[in-house]
């Protein structure tokens, strides 16, 4: 506590039902509740055993804190605090809590609370609990040197604390760092307390700090790792995903617009095609992004890949009974600091996604994200999912398994497009700091759509055509001649 100047925490509740509301974390950590600056989280817990796993295998950091929590106080507790620095808070992607012993216990609610900035976690009847806290940090990793040659290796740096930041006393803990390869030219060494001389212990692509004993609350020990990562640090500043549901056509149309940017090291000299062609042949490992694979849902058809100036012919789409895979190559390899905005889209049969619940009520179950599945990971800064429901759909509700802390805004409004009279109902969900780990998360939308509403468009078109014909017929009956013969 003392050493962490800024600290935020998550709020955790075992009993409250899942609220699919908007946790307002838009922009840099705007929390729901602000606690008074004099607030001090009660020292009611003790971390009996803690394993902090930091995975840096992809181009973003994934931290997992496995902790056995013990309640020191007499009363049952329902709040557990976890500190974040304000910088981390800006980047934190999904924050999720699970009970390791009983995975069926899913009702943890995570809420960010600010306390100068500070924070809280809530939970009921916590006596001794095994928790798994997952947090993913956005991929804003530093790349020293900032500019490298086209064929050089790229290195990334990640800073963290060897002691897992906690506001409770930790009896026993260990920090494991998983890296993409064994090329780790620099990492901070700290003196050991036990039988090993110094931490960390390096075994292949893994660094282990600890075990440490009896770390007081709030203790930190800054550590830096510099490791090779000659893979693209792909980053999407904005992903706009439109899902258009058509009841008449029995079709669901997907369109995604990516504002892609490679956050990796910049080129120190300008692009050289000869070197690139040669390196493609001899050493295809590069930090330039040259291909993306989108495994789509089975049954997807008519995929396209375009950008601002038209179709990009370097894409392949296979769709059969086993898979539907879209492989695209950008027009040019995307090196660090280069941009490439593009659009992809495809159609799918509605029967795979849409179900009639009762009468006029429908349920739509689609993936929240269907971005590329890259071995090196893929990060999204802003994601905007728009579900365009048919004209006249009402009573729109949704549920998503994306961590609530990532969702920043939810709006239901109307949009007028092809032959609409009142406009289609549009559900817009905005989220931030997501990663391709969340590819398999669902978005379930339920809505009411009456038969009468579905007849609106044909009737309007028919009616207007009829009135046009009748109008012309009436006009043809009018005699406009000046002289009558």
């Amino acid at each position: 506590m003392k050493s962490i100047a800024a600290c935020a925490a998550a709020l955790l509740s075992l009993i409250s039902p899942i609220v699919t509301a908007d946790t307002n974390v838009a922009g840099p950590s705007v929390s729901k509740a602000t606690l008074p600056s004099t607030f001090k989280p009660p020292q009611v817990f003790k971390n009996a055993n803690l394993v902090h796993v930091i995975s840096l295998e992809k181009n973003f950091a994934k931290e997992q804190i496995n902790v056995v929590v013990e309640n020191d106080s007499k009363e049952p507790q329902d709040e557990y605090f976890l500190p974040f620095t304000s910088q981390q808070m800006e980047r934190v992607g999904g924050f999720e809590v699970k009970d390791r012993k009983d995975s069926s216990l899913t009702g943890f609610v995570v809420e960010a609370v600010e306390y100068d900035p500070f924070s809280t976690i809530e939970s009921d009847c916590l006596r001794r609990s095994h928790l798994r806290l997952n947090r993913r940090l956005a991929s804003r990793l530093d790349t020293p040197p900032a500019a490298i040659q086209q064929t050089d290796k790229q290195y990334l740096v990640y800073s963290f604390s060897a002691y897992c930041p906690s506001i409770y006393t930790t009896v026993k803990q260990k920090t494991e760092v998983k890296l993409p390869g064994s090329d780790i030219p620099e990492y901070t060494k700290i003196a050991s307390s036990g039988d090993v001389k110094e931490f960390p212990q390096k075994s292949g692509a893994k660094l282990t700090y600890g075990p440490f004993h009896e770390v007081p609350a709030g203790a930190v020990s800054p550590v830096k790792v510099r490791y090779e990562f000659t893979k693209p640090v792909s980053h999407v500043t904005l992903l706009e995903r439109d899902v258009e549901v058509s009841h008449w056509g029995g079709n669901i149309a997907f369109e995604e617009r990516y504002t892609l940017y490679n956050q990796g090291a910049n080129l120190s000299a300008l692009f050289n095609r000869v070197k690139w062609a040669q390196s493609q042949y001899f050493n295809p490992n590069s930090y330039a992004l040259k291909e993306m694979k989108f495994p789509l849902r089975i049954g997807s058809t008519d995929a396209y890949f375009t950008d601002a100036i038209g179709n990009v012919s370097t894409s392949r789409f296979r769709s059969n009974k086993k898979e539907a895979s879209l492989e695209i190559k950008p027009r040019y390899p995307i090196f660090g600091g280069w941009k490439y905005p593009f659009t992809i889209g495809w159609n799918a049969d509605a029967k795979y996604f849409l179900r009639q619940k009762t009468g006029d009520s429908y349920i739509l179950n689609i993936p929240f994200l269907e971005g590329p599945k890259q071995p090196e990971g893929f990060g999204y800064e802003q994601v905007q999912v728009r579900v365009l429901l048919p004209e006249g759909a009402e009573n729109v509700k949704f549920h998503t398994s994306i961590p609530e802390s990532s969702i920043t805004d939810v709006v239901v409004d109307q949009q007028k497009t092809y032959l609409d009279t009142i406009g289609r109902t549009v559900l817009t969900i905005k989220a931030r700091n997501l990663h391709d780990d969340f590819r398999d998360r669902d978005l379930i939308v339920s809505y009411d759509y009456t038969f009468a509403a579905s007849l609106r468009k044909p009737l309007v078109v028919f009616g207007s055509m009829m009135s046009l014909f009748v109008g012309i017929w009436l006009l043809s009956k009018v005699d406009v001649k000046l002289s009558s013969k």
């Binding site: 000299a269 300008l270 692009f271 050289n272 095609r273 000869v274 062609a277 950008d307 601002a308 100036i309 038209g310 179709n311 990009v312 012919s313 370097t314 027009r331 040019y332 600091g337 280069w338 941009k339 490439y340 905005p341 007028k416 497009t417 092809y418 032959l419 609409d420 009279t421």
Partner: protein
């Protein structure tokens, strides 16, 4: 169809009777016209199906960009548009130097569809505008032909010809978003309205004609064709002694309203009263007043008096008018004929005086095979159709004759003007072939007593009248007819085969010659699948995404519009070619050595230089092949500094290999094209596949430019202009230092040491 006068109800007869009902025939005609329009549209979609919905070639990219500007900023901003992203640093008064008809048309369609809640992407509207208008052109050709003959099947044939003839398709495939896309429709429709106005002597039709003439002026520079043809037609009519009040009313209405309409376009402005191209129209307008006056006088005076008056009055007026014209031309009120116009009379003129016009392939004289390629059988039916016009020489037939002569001449002078010839060829050929078909396709052989044959579509009495009054043949021998079924079958069968072959030819030409977007190149993989070479867009997209928003790109003018449209970056010169000196400056920068070019590029704030190089792929339309034009244009302005001769070897060869001249090897264009190219090959095997030569082992050295991007197949190469050296060396010294050479003593020029005073 058959003649319906027989008594025995054969099946053919029933069919013929069935076809006689008026409403059914109207329905059939509408259906046939709809199918023709459908065929016209769909035959233009090859490129969309094969490639994608994309804007083609060069000029359309500007039109597309201008349309997007119009849609984004509204009409008034478009009108006042000053574009600072072209012709850097001059800029271009775009709103006042373009024909806005095309953009406004697609903008109007865009907004109309929006209002009907059909939000179609503007790109798709632009891509499909030309095919859509070709359907309308077919309809206009139908109307025009119907004015020429009473035989409606001729109109339908003309519509079909117009719809699919390659001469018109060449400029109106989907994606060819150029002024011609709508202009040909307007041309044909204006002529139709003119004929209609002339026939009826109606102010209403004359005004409509003027309205469409105004639209035409707003759309295409080729409006001058109408401006010259209509007066010429009127003049010929007067000379033939066919002056009538109909002519007077229609011409004066058209001229007065049409000229006013045309002057509303900023680009045209006062040209209709100030340039020589427009003088015929004005002259005929005056002449008509004179003729009308004379006719009035003649009705009032006696013969001898009138003769004297005619000599004195006419002579005086003509003399005065001519004097005024000469005086005003020499005083500069009326511009003399422009160079572009001279090149229409003397095809060698442009090559000598205006290389920039001669460098455009579509301004070359037409080769003979092009006529057959673009018009196929229509070209030999065309004279027959014109001959038929002489058979029945009414005012409107004179128009066909005049148009045919005029159009043929211009089509022979410039490839591009094949377009203006095509409509009349279709009309004349349709008249000829329908005459042939209706003669030979009648089931009933004439009875000896009957005044012969043909034409089912009209009633018997009408037909007799037509035959008696119309064709010479029937006047000479009224009992002539086709009696034998064999000859009927043979001729109509052959004609059918020709028509089918024509369709085949059109399809083949359209598919093979006119449907390539030229932005993307298609090739075949070994397994027969299509492989698309997309280097242009690769490089343009790279420029668009990874350079500064206002990075100035220098390239040869051909690519200016594409860079503006696809890469969205400011350019130095583009396809508008309004400033020859500026283009020559770029030509000079390209054709001079680095020491000369670098200051030019610095002065024009150039950030990147773009060249097209086809050596790796064998793409022949590259900059080295266009290089001589750059040299010529630069030489036109700086004859002392750039000399075309120096780019040829002493033996007069244009070489790029080891034998190339020093001037060639030192020119910026050569260096940029071949820089680093030899490293792609094993030593001694560097090859230029366009010019089929082996290149030297050591490539050129570039000191003032850095290679910034080269596309996958090396078609586009982009170079970044180096900034000034930060320790004040010249670039050659800095580059040689970077290569690890010792600093030359000679470059060490240091003045006496002086105390620095700040």
């Amino acid at each position: 169809m058959a003649v319906a006068s027989a008594s025995d109800p054969s099946p053919m007869q029933v069919l013929a009777d069935f076809g006689k009902s008026k409403s059914l025939r109207t329905l059939l005609r509408v259906l046939i016209l709809c199918f023709i329009a459908g065929a016209a549209v769909s035959s233009r979609l090859f490129s969309v199906i094969r490639f994608e919905s994309i804007i083609h070639e060069f000029d359309p990219w500007f039109n597309f960009r201008a349309t997007k500007y119009l849609i984004a900023n509204g009409f008034y901003d478009f009108w006042d548009w000053f574009d600072d992203r072209t012709w850097h640093p001059l800029g271009r008064v775009t709103g006042g130097t373009l024909y806005p008809g095309l953009m406004v048309t697609s903008g109007a369609i865009y907004h109309a569809l929006r209002a009907l809640t059909i939000p179609v992407d503007i790109r798709n509207i632009c891509v499909l505008l030309a095919p859509a208008f070709s359907g309308l052109t077919a309809f206009a050709a139908y109307l025009l032909t119907n004015e020429m003959t009473t035989n409606t099947s001729a109109g339908l044939l003309a519509a079909a010809f117009m719809g699919i003839t390659p001469g018109y398709i060449s400029r109106s495939v989907a994606g060819s978003y150029d002024n011609e896309a709508i202009a040909i429709f307007l041309l044909v429709f204006t002529f139709y309205l003119w004929i209609k106005a002339l026939k009826l002597g109606s102010v209403l039709w004359g005004a409509l004609c003027a309205l469409f003439y105004g639209y035409m002026v707003a759309s295409w520079g080729g409006y001058a064709f109408i401006t010259c043809l209509v007066p010429l037609h009127s003049f010929v009519l007067i000379c033939m002694g066919r002056y009538s009040t109909r002519l007077y009313v229609s011409y004066t209405t058209w001229y007065a309203l049409g000229t006013l309409a045309s002057m509303q376009i900023p680009f045209v402005g006062f040209l209709p009263v100030r340039t020589s191209e427009h003088m015929p129209a004005l002259g005929i307008f005056g002449f008509l007043q004179l003729v009308a006056f004379i006719y009035y006088i003649r009705s009032a005076l006696s013969g001898a008096q009138f003769k004297a008056f005619l000599f004195v009055g006419l002579g005086a007026v003509f003399g005065l008018a001519l004097l005024a014209l000469v005086a005003m031309t020499s005083a500069g009120y009326i511009a003399p004929w422009s160079g572009r116009f001279y090149s229409l009379w003397d095809t060698g003129y442009a090559k000598i005086h205006i290389p920039i016009i001669a460098s455009v392939s579509e301004h070359q004289p037409t080769a003979w095979p092009a006529f057959f390629f673009d018009l196929n059988m229509l070209i030999w039916l065309f004279p027959a159709g014109v001959y038929l016009c002489f058979q029945d020489l009414k005012d409107e037939h004179v128009f066909v004759v005049v148009y045919a002569l005029f159009g043929s001449y211009f089509a022979g002078v410039m490839v591009r003007l094949m377009l203006t010839l095509t409509p009349i060829v279709c009309v004349a050929a349709a008249m000829a072939s329908s005459q042939l078909l209706s003669t030979f396709l009648s089931v009933k052989s004439p009875k000896v007593k009957d005044p012969a044959q043909e034409d089912v579509t009209d009633s018997l009495s009408k037909k007799t009248k037509q035959n008696a009054g119309g064709s010479l043949r029937s006047a000479n021998s009224p009992y002539v007819g086709v009696y034998s079924f064999l000859s009927k079958g043979l001729v109509s069968g052959i004609m059918t085969i020709y028509l089918l072959l024509f369709v085949l030819h059109c399809t083949w030409v359209t598919s093979n010659a006119y449907s390539s977007p030229s932005v993307v190149l298609a090739s075949r993989m070994p397994d027969g699948s299509q492989h698309i070479i997309d280097d242009y867009r690769e490089a343009y997209q790279w420029l668009r995404q990874n350079t500064k928003e206002d990075a100035k790109i220098m390239s040869w003018w051909d690519y200016g519009y594409q860079i503006g449209g696809m890469a969205d970056r400011p350019t130095l010169v583009d396809n508008n070619t309004w400033n020859n000196t500026h283009i020559a400056t770029v030509g000079k920068a390209m054709s001079s050595s680095e020491e000369v070019s670098y200051p030019i590029m610095r002065q024009h704030e150039v950030d990147y230089v773009l060249v097209v190089f086809g050596g790796l792929l064998g793409y022949s339309g590259d900059d080295i092949n266009k290089f001589l034009w750059m040299v010529r244009i630069a030489e036109g302005i700086w004859p002392d500094e750039v000399s075309e001769r120096k780019f040829f070897t002493p033996r007069g060869e244009y070489r790029v290999d080891g034998e190339a001249t020093e001037t060639m090897k030192n020119s910026l264009m050569y260096k940029m094209s071949y820089y680093n190219y030899h490293t792609l090959f094993p030593p001694g095997q560097a090859q230029d596949r366009v010019r089929g030569v082996r290149l030297p082992d050591t490539g050129p050295v570039l000191n003032t430019l850095d290679e910034a991007f080269t596309s996958e197949n090396w078609i586009i190469r982009i170079y970044k202009v180096k900034d000034l050296d930060n320790v004040g060396r010249d670039h050659a010294a800095a580059a040689s230092f970077d290569r690890g050479h010792k600093k030359k003593k000679a470059t060490k020029k240091r003045g006496p040491r002086a105390l620095r005073v700040d």
